[in-house]
């Protein structure tokens, strides 16, 4: 596994070119300015920052759910402002997104129905027809026994796993995770890191294809031996920290405190 950032020739899957990240609550306010970032196939990014640094808004902008206040955003080589509604929806199917704090499941649906929803919607199939796929992806997320429970009745860590299953159901090319390790116990944290490593290496669910990963985090220490590229958001700035070696050698004071903690 490469320990430092390597030059990648493949065209970027997602790109932010001089983009100002807007706040979801106030679209005129730029939380992070002038972000230049490219996501290439197979990469595993961990992006850290203090609370309220704009990590969630950065991630939803990357996913194409939120427009940047300025600059350009490209999804699979296409500038998003030029994409029609149908093209944008089609591009979003190629990106899985696991939201923070329980994954924003639909609480009135069961776990199986939550995971079946994107499958049934995009493949126009019934819940019964999707049941086998749903069971497989729920087993991958370690929540196979919870299939018939209402999502609203689960605790946050299990909801987060169901959200991972839902995001993986369509076999996306890119998986974006918003602070997936927040508030987890060490056992759950280990499960997440091992599962994400397996997905990035090429999981059987993805037919052995390495899944491109981007995760945000309050601190980068937990990710330092798993992710392969690192970014940092602070004082409205985007910092590309490079690979593991560059991260360890980084002179950024706030980052140093986090890594040393």
């Amino acid at each position: 596994m490469a320990a430092s950032a390597e030059p990648i020739a493949a065209p970027p899957l997602i790109e932010l070119a001089g983009a100002d990240i807007a706040s979801a609550q106030n679209p005129d306010t730029a939380l992070v300015q002038q972000v230049k970032w490219r996501l290439h196939p197979g990469e595993f990014w961990a992006v850290g920052g203090l609370q309220w640094a704009g990590k969630s808004d950065w991630l939803t902008t990357v996913a194409g759910l939120q427009r940047p206040a300025a600059g350009q955003h490209f999804l699979f080589g296409e500038p998003t402002p030029d994409m029609g509604q149908l093209e944008l929806l089609a591009a979003r199917r190629r990106i899985g997104l696991v939201f923070e704090n329980g994954g924003r499941l639909f609480p009135h649906l069961t776990v199986a129905e939550n995971v079946a929803l994107p499958l049934c919607y995009h493949h126009n199939c019934s819940k019964d027809e999707a049941s086998e796929t749903v069971a497989t992806v729920l087993r991958l997320a370690g929540v196979g026994e919870l299939a018939d429970q209402l999502a609203g009745q689960l605790n946050r860590s299990w909801r987060q796993r169901v959200a991972l299953a839902r995001a993986l159901a369509l076999k996306p090319e890119v998986l974006l995770l918003d602070n997936p390790l927040a508030g987890l116990d060490p056992r759950q944290t280990r499960w997440w890191l091992e599962t994400l490593d397996a997905l990035n290496a090429g999981h059987a669910w993805m037919s052995g294809r390495p899944l491109t990963l981007v995760a945000t985090a309050d601190e980068l220490r937990q990710w330092s031996s798993h992710a392969r590229r690192f970014g940092w958001l602070q004082d409205r700035r985007w910092l590309d920290l490079g690979g593991r070696a560059e991260l360890a050698a980084s002179g950024e004071p706030a980052l140093h405190d986090f890594l040393a903690a």
């Binding site: 929806l89 199917r93 994107p118 049934c120």
Partner: protein, 286 residues
């Protein structure tokens, strides 16, 4: 003496007040209200056009997911409201139909029974009563459930899954409410006419059932059937679009949900009354 002198003074004072320029604060308030009204009209109009576009272009898209949602909305806004609509139909029949027929018969104007019933009950009161019941029971719930969904980020979750929220959340409600109001109106009219005759019978008015129903049937024109259909579908679409707009258009905080619900109810009533007035105008001009 005092009273006589007070009158010109009051008139002069009124004149002086009338010639004063309006306070700036009041003008600002009126201006803000007009701007807010225009913004709402623009927002609801745009939302209605988007919904209409999605309904036509995506009618058969993912029908195995969407059509059950439409059936669920018809069940929720139609089937489950049947007891309520039967109760209102009984009340309307006893209070309005029975009394009207009884009075018309007393004054020897029994031959106008059909015309009055068709104009008042079938053309006007039936569709409006069904629409108001659906708005009160289902429209308010739509604002709250969609407002909470939006507040909890579920709409963004749908978008992240590549699911069009208008297709998944709005279209089933528009079709469901339109179909439900149409069906409930038909039931309401039938129940009101039957219970009205019951009241007439109990009062001993000499009117046979066959005579009563043939008076109504003779007064009915094909335009009335078309009008009921168009009116009820329009009412359903207006209520669903206005309530969905208020639930979804902007991210609500929990404390704003009640205010949005009130605004949606008021605007739905205004929308239905305006649509009703438009249909009356068209009917008169026909």
């Amino acid at each position: 003496m005092e009273k006589a002198s007070a009158k010109p003074e009051a008139a002069a004072l009124l004149q002086a007040v009338a010639t004063l320029p309006l306070p700036q604060g009041y003008l600002n308030f009126v201006g803000r209200q007009i701007l807010r009204f225009l913004q709402t009209v623009q927002g609801v109009g745009a939302f209605a056009l988007i919904t209409l576009g999605v309904t036509f272009t995506k009618w058969n898209t993912s029908w195995r997911v969407i059509h059950p949602l439409i059936r669920a909305q018809i069940d929720r806004a139609g089937v489950r409201l049947l007891p309520g609509i039967v109760f209102i139909g009984l009340a309307l029949g006893l209070v309005i139909v029975g009394q009207t027929v009884s009075i018309l018969s007393k004054f020897g104007a029994g031959q106008y029974t059909g015309t009055v019933m068709v104009t008042v009950l079938i053309r006007e009161l039936g569709p409006l009563a069904a629409a108001l019941l659906v708005m009160a029971r289902v429209g308010t719930a739509i604002v709250i459930e969609l407002g909470l969904s939006r507040a909890q980020g579920e709409v963004e979750a749908l978008e992240a899954l590549g699911i069009d929220p208008v297709h998944y959340l709005v279209m089933p409600r528009v079709i469901g409410l339109a179909a439900a109001i149409f069906s409930l109106t038909v039931y309401l009219i039938i129940v009101a006419l039957l219970s009205g005759y019951l009241f007439v019978f109990l009062q001993g008015v000499p009117l046979l059932p066959g005579e009563y129903f043939s008076l109504i049937a003779r007064a009915l024109l094909w335009e009335d059937f078309a009008l009921i259909g168009l009116k009820t579908l329009t009412f359903g679409a207006i209520i669903a679009i206005v309530t969905c707009y208020h639930g979804l258009a902007q991210r609500l905080r929990l404390e704003e949900v009640s205010e949005a619900t009130t605004a949606a109810v008021a605007q739905s009533v205004v929308g239905c009354v305006l649509a009703d007035a438009f249909f009356i105008l068209v009917y008169i001009l026909m």
